[in-house]
Symmetry: C2
Subunit: 107 residues, 2 copies
């Protein structure tokens, strides 16, 4: 899947993944890629900076957790994050409706 198509939608995808439950960064990547049915192939260099930004915006929060002797940063969505996700979902609906209106297709 080509690059720039994800512009502006990535926040939503990561928030949606974390809305299912806390997860560490590496897991978020695999979650999104898997849930997309192989459509997306997010890279670490794409995801980690976004997670940091989302945390700064208080949409998610993190804590260090040790697992199998190793340190993981576990992220959890905040209530602000859920609100933002709701907005993003609504925007997505509008957006995809707009696209369908122009290209004239179901789905």
């Amino acid at each position: 899947m080509k690059g720039e198509i994800l512009r502006g939608h990535l926040d939503m995808l990561l928030l949606a993944a974390l809305a299912r439950g806390p997860a560490h960064g590496y897991a978020v990547i695999e979650l999104v890629n898997a849930d997309s049915g192989g459509v997306f192939d997010l890279q670490q260099g794409t995801v980690y900076p976004i997670l940091h930004r989302l945390e700064q915006e208080d949409l998610i929060k993190s804590r260090w957790v040790s697992h199998a002797g190793r340190q993981r940063r576990e992220y959890e969505i905040t209530s602000d994050g859920r609100d933002r996700l709701d907005v993003a979902r609504a925007d997505w609906k509008r957006f995809s409706r707009g696209v369908r209106g122009v290209i004239g297709e179901a789905t």
Copy 2:
């Protein structure tokens, strides 16, 4: 509708508009904006450069037409353009399917 969401989808939208029939730039803008049901609000500064690029890629072609004593550049989609549009539509389906898979929603 915020900005970067259209990234990578604009070519498809303009090609789709022109697939309905030849039109000049200004009309393309209004067509897309109208067909989107008011979701998009494309500006001239966004659309004209894209039309030029699409023409360079031989996806559309243009000719000057005089209308009511004025000069318009009328664009028409080429067969390469239709092929590209088909690909873009397929990509759009994949993309939106991927998003739905992650955010877990119909539409």
